[in-house]
């Protein structure tokens, strides 16, 4: 679908901001707010490139409802034990791949740096987001967010969303 230049810029701006907010909530450990960026029957998937490239669906994290996102965070806070660490997302430009009315598909490269309690920062996970975003309301929301990661070997564990 052809978009006017101004409409394309507007949608791209919305998608960029949504991804920036997504990164910020995770990096700042405001994880309880993170599910609010998704529609109720969303898909959130974090999948190794070696599986994605083979059309295999096995994912590190796979949620098919906003409730599952909430459960992940509650589990992180209440049940799971993991090394103390924080993330820092570095995002590339967001490109609109396709648009259908107010539903757009975008792609964004990312790198997640991890800092552990000893103060060392390392590249933890690099990949791309393939997102479907609903831009029909004031607050754009992820219908689907798929993080395909190049870093096939996960360092120790993955507890926070990517």
């Amino acid at each position: 679908m052809d978009l006017s230049t101004s409409e394309r810029f507007r949608l791209q701006q919305l998608a960029t901001e949504l991804n920036a907010t997504h990164a910020e909530l995770i990096d700042d450990d405001r994880l309880e707010k993170w599910p609010d960026l998704f529609v109720p029957d969303c898909t959130y998937r974090v999948i190794a490139r070696e599986n994605h490239d083979r059309n295999l669906t096995l994912s590190a994290i796979f949620c098919d409802s906003k409730g599952m996102l909430v459960d992940r965070i509650i589990s992180l806070r209440k049940a799971n034990i993991f090394p103390v660490h924080s993330y820092r997302h570095i995002l590339g430009p967001t490109r609109i791949v396709s648009a259908h009315e107010f539903k757009i598909t975008t792609q964004t490269n990312y790198a997640v740096l991890m800092t552990r309690a000893d103060g060392h920062t390392e590249i933890y996970n690099a990949g791309k987001y393939i997102d479907e975003i609903d831009c029909s309301e004031d607050q754009p929301l992820f219908i689907s967010k798929v993080a395909v990661f190049d870093t096939n070997v996960i360092d120790t564990m993955m507890v926070r969303p990517i």
């Binding site: 096995l58 590190a60 589990s75 507890v159």
Partner: protein, 420 residues
């Protein structure tokens, strides 16, 4: 060396009848690591290398490792699975640089020496020289310069390989209990669902302990407790083969008992039945086996775990990366005849296991906090005594007997003594 090992180990390993002790140096000292590569991974053992389903067609290959040695698993034109060391017979280059694929032959990129899928040398460029110059010596025999071929055998579609010409046959090495439980899970054709890899900054043997340790399960992994998937008050057993190499842990969920749990755990942090999932579909599953067993952790010496947790089926392969690191490769699978709903169940339950597993992610941290604490220790030792100081089977899960079984085998193959 062996004699010295036997003399020295007395104080650390077996003198204390009240508990079994493992000197921490075995987790950090490179001498032990070298002996393990020689005496365990290249010694009198069988290592897991692949599922047959990963190389279903002639020409299919997979690169992997036994210990730290790179190997290639191939399906030959004869339809059989072969395992060769991934090292050119010429000057030692990797022959296969990809993780997996399909090829008619294996060719080293350096000088294009070519091998068939069984590892036989079939081509050497300029073998007879060029314009009468150079070339290999006249008595050069292609048959003498193949890739190093390993012994290969499989049980239930799990492929094992060995460097040893003298090790007992695979089925004897595994023993009837392990074979029974491999065949229970591998009861029909499987379909590979994908891989997960994690690097753990700890010694591989800490993970061998972890997977033989039912004691920690309900104390470290709180997700299980919270949702009643696994509790120490469940009926469960810890069983070993006759040689105590391998460990089978299993439990039956039907035996869950809330009242008994409250009595056992009281208000400790490990028990919280108030905790409810917003989306219970995560725990939705099907009973696949008539025996009611919902959790099987089959740890096969030295490098494999075959698991069933609810409806997640997977093999976990340990690849050693020095004294203080190992890679854990999880290959998930379902059955070829899974219907759409079953495929969805397995995909969703995969959230429970692996490096991001709601249930299992803690194991990496458990290994690392030991590794970080035992750095530089020479004589200090662990203390293993839950359920006794012997490698005994138990019809409960409050035991560390299978860990002691692992170390008894380690003593035989490597020893706790100091290398010369």
């Amino acid at each position: 060396m062996a004699e010295k090992a036997l003399k020295n180990r007395g104080s650390s390993a077996t003198a204390d009848v009240a508990g079994y002790r493992v000197p921490y140096r075995v987790f950090t000292d490179p001498d032990y690591y070298r002996r393990e590569q020689e005496n365990i991974f290249q010694g009198e053992t069988w290592s897991f290398v692949a599922l047959e389903a990963e190389v279903p067609e002639p020409g299919d290959f997979k690169s992997t490792f036994i210990g730290e040695t790179p190997v290639i698993v191939t399906r030959g034109s004869d339809g059989k699975v072969h395992v060769v060391v991934n090292r050119c017979a010429h000057r030692g280059a990797l022959v296969c640089r990809e993780m997996r694929g399909n090829r008619p032959s294996l060719e080293c990129v350096y000088h294009q020496w070519a091998y068939d899928l069984e590892g036989n040398l079939i081509g050497v460029p300029f073998r007879r020289g060029l314009k009468g110059q150079g070339g290999m010596p006249g008595d050069f025999d292609m048959k003498e310069h193949g890739l190093r071929k390993l012994r290969v055998d499989s049980v239930g579609g799990l492929v094992f390989a060995s460097f040893s010409e003298t090790v007992e046959p695979l089925r004897d090495f595994l023993g009837p209990i392990v074979i029974e439980h491999i065949e229970r899970i591998m009861c029909k054709p499987i379909k590979v669902l994908g891989d997960q890899r994690q690097h753990v900054h700890g010694n591989w043997k800490l993970y061998a302990e972890n997977t033989r340790d039912p004691y920690h399960a309900s104390l470290l992994h709180l997700f299980h407790n919270t949702f009643g998937l696994y509790r120490s008050t469940q009926t469960g057993k810890s069983v070993m083969d006759a040689n105590k190499r391998h460990s089978l842990l299993y439990s039956i969920a039907a035996s869950n008992d809330d009242a008994a749990d409250k009595q056992a755990y009281g208000d400790s942090r490990t028990f919280d039945t108030e905790f409810k999932l917003q989306d219970m579909s995560l725990l939705k599953g099907r009973q696949e086996f008539d025996d009611g067993v919902t959790l099987v952790i089959l740890a096969v010496f030295p490098n494999l775990v075959l698991q069933q947790i609810q409806n997640t089926l997977a093999v976990r392969q340990t690849v050693t990366k020095g004294t203080d690191g190992f890679e854990l490769v999880w290959t998930h699978f379902g059955y070829a005849d899974d219907d759409v709903e079953m495929q969805a169940i397995r995909q969703k339950q995969a959230n429970l296991i692996g490096p991001a597993g709601l249930v299992s992610m803690e194991d990496g941290e458990a290994v690392e906090i030991v590794q970080r604490a035992v750095i530089g220790e020479h004589d200090a030792a662990s203390y293993i005594a839950m359920g006794g100081d012997r490698p005994d089977d138990a019809d409960h899960l409050v035991t560390e007997g299978a860990i002691i079984g692992f170390w008894h085998n380690y003593e035989k193959l490597v020893g706790f003594g100091i290398a010369p």
